[in-house]
Symmetry: C2
Subunit: 260 residues, 2 copies
Amino acid sequence: MLFVTSKDNSNVKKAVKLKSSAKERRKSGLFLAEGLRICMDAVFSGAEIQTLFVTEKAMQKHGEDFALLEEKAKNVICVNENIFALMSDTQSPQGFLSVIKTLDKTNEFDTIKGDSKYLALDNVQDPSNLGTVLRSAEAFNVSGVILSCDCCDIYNPKVVRGSMGAVFRIPFIIKSSIKDFLNENPQINSYAAVVNSDAVSLTDVKFQTPCAIVVGNEGNGIKAETEKACQNKITIHMEGKAESLNASVAAAILMWEMMK
Amino acid sequence: MLFVTSKDNSNVKKAVKLKSSAKERRKSGLFLAEGLRICMDAVFSGAEIQTLFVTEKAMQKHGEDFALLEEKAKNVICVNENIFALMSDTQSPQGFLSVIKTLDKTNEFDTIKGDSKYLALDNVQDPSNLGTVLRSAEAFNVSGVILSCDCCDIYNPKVVRGSMGAVFRIPFIIKSSIKDFLNENPQINSYAAVVNSDAVSLTDVKFQTPCAIVVGNEGNGIKAETEKACQNKITIHMEGKAESLNASVAAAILMWEMMK
């Protein structure tokens, strides 16, 4: 274990960059997972921890968990609270932060099974929404999540944390576009979720598997080219003056009905 | 219209306080609504705008809407961007912010109708969750929302914004406890949402009206005394390693099924 007391240490500087820069995460193939529980989730799902940062206090408070994390991490660096705060994305840091190799789940999408049920996200932008969507997708046992490459970065610390570790466990794939994914997999029955009273009400939809529900951007919905590539249009019937649901709520309701 | 250029102006100082202090909001009976759309929502729902703060740029950009807001607001104060930022809770302020009298919807709960369907929130703490829950409650046409007084403040700027204006339109009431509300209204059939495999699965529940679903705190769920006061226990069946859903997602799924 290394003890680092300078914020100019190269490992610390790199972690600070990984926190805020999606470009840096892409370039290095690394991302951050913060919090004891999420670090443990990473270990249990077999993710590769390159560096574990801890504070002295955290080590003492969670000795047993720390011992396991220390065993699995390639490097362990102990820092003081001030340095930890630079790398942390939370208001009250717990003192555990891992630098992890980005996950490759591409092969989990090699075979589309007859009963597979997917969620496809078209340009979803809000990290809290994306994290919550992954958490719900895991809870409802969705086969996998497809993200268009213009979605917010799945390795954003807010996504990782908001997913409650689901990012480590759920199959996901990032594609150039949802249109391309659907064209490459013509056997998938596609259902575009739209806010349009002409679309089929979700309660009347009989999902034909394998299938994928497509959810769009928070403000603008699904791209025109994506909607065109979908075979079906479905909608969540709403009352009152509400014009739409929060994207993560809409995705959850859609998955709930698809998985029933 | 007043032009204010000092951050020490008493109106500005009061608004800054209202942004961050729930105590100040309670004491003064005032709260903030930020953004053009939410200010318009306030007007259309008949809320009383005590002071409207605008920037010059916002006035020019949205002349027509500003004219309407100006007509309805008791006072209008034009401030520069720097002063506006002090009162704002957003990263890119739009230049519209209203100081509004807190809403009294108590009488909407005087009569519990035979077909009423409520959502009760027991110590829900996260403002983003609460805002999203109100938005969903409106979209699904829930009869009203009951909040225990230890829930996060419904007039928190994040709640108001996250509700997309639903806070102005949906009936809500703040009670000392959910237990008290249920005891005072014994005709209401109560359904406690719990994470417990012994509870009835949501898909098997036949809701008897009038009814209320009770949703609890993000980390600890429903209080023991509240659960005891409920006649039924229901649960959202989950798969995989997910231990729970985000509170606003769980509330949405529960309301979706209740309102079907």
